[in-house]
Amino acid sequence: MKDALRSFADQIGSEGPVAVAGGKTHWGVGGWPATGTKEVAAPVGVVAHEPAEMIVRVGAGTTLEELRSTVEEGGQFVALEADDPSKATVGGVLAVGLGGYRRLGWGPVRDSVLEMTSVTAGGEVLRSGAPLVKNVTGYDLCRLFVGSLGTLALTGEVVLRCRPIPEAETWWVGEGADPFAVAAGLYRPLSVLWNGIHTWVGLAGYRVDIEDQARTVLGRAFRPAERPPPLPGRLRRSLTPRDLRALPSTAGVDRPWLAQVGVGVVHCGEAAAERIGPVGPPSSGVWDLHRALKERFDPAGRLNPGRSVSGVAAGAGV
């Protein structure tokens, strides 16, 4: 893998606009790369899965599907989701930094990242974090890079946290229940999704617990579901968990949307997104910090030119 990383760094070099192409499932997020941007590919493949350490080292170009099937053999999984796991790459998912339906139970994408090996704008290999489940050695560049759309450094290899596959994961769907009361009544649910009419509930863990929760909290209003519902659209909005309550009036029930109750993410299409309105831009002070970071990490602006981290959640196209 050392060689793969080396050649990744060589491809990136130290001059000229450059971007890493993954599965291109979210290629337009944050803006399209400027014309003339060189596209490079990150190393592919699972380098090592160490179940006893609960970590996996993987090339950033590896698809989520490949990662899943390798880690599964050791009875574990990695808490990353994408709508098209056979195409989406680890590096891409981390660069975009947005989680899927199970964020309520799994936590945000960034909490799964333990170490990142990236290439700087100067073409040098940069390591941050450590291949350990706990570590506070030095500044947390990993968190800075997750969701940065490759505008600060380009990631070649990462170490991710693995978790044991729970005894069971089940989904339920019901109509007419108050999703907020359901979410509050459940103990550490995996997911509670709501489209204004239906509520889907994901539960994971010990079978006895799931049965108990289904009986005592979900009750008759819910019936088993095969899987969570499909995405209503490729856009998303970020609201406070409480503001979700108003969605039937703000977004309307006629336009498709799906809210992650307890989290605040709303998946939707153009129509609902427009009704909800754009996400506010960062304050000027925060924006100054962004500029100061970009000036230091990529003074020439060669990493992913044309992309901006403001507007990611607004999803400028797909």
């Binding site: 506070v136 500044y139 800075l144």
Partner: protein, 477 residues
């Protein structure tokens, strides 16, 4: 400009009686719980973000660095004032109000000086708590937890502080105020919140923090297992994890520690055991029962002589009190201690503990181990009497060897206490110059003039050999 002028201007910015420069008082703020000593020029106690900002502006105008300080329980010298000119220490202890508790959305806005345990106590009636639980939780501040990205026994399952901070208001080194992160899940832009957490007070002063509140588990079982060898105990730790179980907490104490702790809490720890594991599982009743019996079986299979399950909340509390007061209780053996904090791959526990034991015994040093075994976070504790001739050199040497051993085993410098001053010169054991340079970019973007808590985390250049004995005088004394 003179210190007198600085005191005057700070007095105008805050209130004269909350700005102190008496020699005795300054001496009390020259270090944190680490005993790495520096020198403060002024100590001040703001009561609001506005005052923090005003104080920081005064520092800027006077060309003075400043050091944020919470409860001063840090163990790496993070709050120890160092700088070309003696810094102003800005203490957050008078900013200790819980501003808002939102039980529906499960978060709270708090001032930085709120004590970790006070927050959990205050929201317990809502069935909630603040999950990071450092052993110092009764004393340490939420601001300090954020700055150090603190962990604790239960972070094995619940995650360290970073996973429990939604947003914060920060006064930057130029006195401006920004809010990083947000209550909504995907705020625009970079995760500056995540970058700030763990920055050890070098990127600004958090003046208001939105923390996530976690439901209290409906059912908890605490197991105490005793082993006749450390090896068995370490193997049992690996066994539990290998079985696909992540307990809420998985802690180990060796014989030295168990003995002093038992003398303090009288919790019924087996003082003849070579090692004791404290395992907690929580969740819903059914799962906890299944998990408890699985864990019990694994512990027994790995040679546990006895596995006890806490009979009631009082017994559980006594066990945890014992675990959490271990660092202090060690002073019953000898008055000084040097506590390490390294992380290693969990599967290397046995060899590293062996080697660490050898490092201490070959130097005639008393060593105890009390640590977060579940995530491989070691806390070797060397106990000594600094008045014994030559002992300090031996302690320093052993400390360096311990760090080297952990790094050689694939570990890292700190699992939760941070780098501070203590380990900055060891940073190049785990990072290249490129790595460190990039970390400096982050720091500089927040504080281009290096006025916020200078000389912390990053090595000073110059000595780059990871030599810990090149510390300021007074280290660990």
């Amino acid at each position: 400009m003179t210190t007198a002028a600085l005191v005057r201007d700070l007095g105008v910015a805050l209130a004269p009686d909350r700005v102190r420069a008496g020699a005795l008082e300054l001496a009390l703020y020259e270090r944190d719980a680490s005993m790495l000593t520096g020198q403060a020029s002024v100590v001040c106690f703001p009561t609001s973000a506005g005052e923090v900002s005003a104080a920081v502006r005064v520092c800027r105008d006077h060309g003075r660095p400043f050091v944020p300080r919470g409860s001063g329980t840090g163990l790496a010298g993070g709050a120890t004032p160092l700088g070309q000119v003696a810094p102003v220490v800005i203490v957050t202890t008078k900013m200790n109000k819980i501003l808002e508790v939102d039980s529906e959305q499960r978060f709270a806005w708090v001032e930085p000086g709120v004590l970790n345990l006070d927050l959990s106590t205050a929201v317990a009636h809502l069935g909630l708590h603040f999950a990071p639980d450092p052993s110092s939780q009764q004393s340490c501040s939420v601001g300090g937890n954020v700055a150090n990205n603190s962990g604790g026994p239960h972070c094995l399952l619940y995650g360290v502080t970073s996973a429990h901070v939604l947003a914060m208001e920060v006064v930057l080194a130029d006195g401006s105020v920004v809010v990083l992160g947000g209550i909504d899940p995907e705020p625009e832009g970079l995760d500056l919140r995540g970058a700030f957490v763990g920055s050890e007070g070098t990127m600004g002063i958090a003046t208001r923090i939105a923390v996530r509140l976690t439901p209290l588990p409906p059912c908890v079982a605490t197991l105490l297992a005793d082993f006749s060898t450390i090896h068995d105990a370490a193997a049992a730790v690996t066994g539990v994890i290998a079985a696909g179980i992540i307990p809420a907490a998985l802690e180990m104490m060796d014989a030295t520690i168990v003995e002093v702790v038992e003398a303090y809490v009288h919790a019924g720890f087996p003082t003849d055991a070579a090692a004791v594991l404290l395992v907690e599982v929580d969740g819903l009743r059914g799962g906890v029962d299944v998990c408890t019996s699985d864990v019990e079986a694994i512990l027994k299979a790995h040679g546990a002589r006895e596995v006890r399950v806490a009979a009631d909340a009082a017994e559980r509390a006594a066990w945890w009190k014992g675990r959490k007061s271990a660092f202090g209780a060690i002073a019953r053996i000898a008055p000084s201690y040097y506590l390490h904090d390294c992380v290693i791959p969990r599967t290397r526990l046995v060899d590293v503990l062996d080697e660490v034991g050898r490092i201490a015994s070959s130097r005639d040093l008393v060593l105890g181990n009390v640590f977060h075994a579940g995530d491989g976070n070691l806390h070797p504790l060397i106990v000594f009497d600094r008045r014994a001739p030559g002992v300090l050199e031996k302690v320093h040497e052993a400390g360096r060897k311990i760090i080297e051993t952990c790094v050689a085993a694939g570990g890292s410098l700190s699992g939760e206490h941070g780098i501070g001053i203590e380990k900055r010169e060891a940073m190049d054991l785990v990072f290249t110059e490129v790595d460190l340079e990039a970390q400096k970019w982050l720091r500089d973007a927040f504080d281009p003039e290096g006025r916020c808590n200078p000389e912390k985390i990053l090595p000073r250049g110059g000595s780059r050999c990871g030599d810990i004995s090149s510390l300021p005088p007074g280290a660990w004394v």
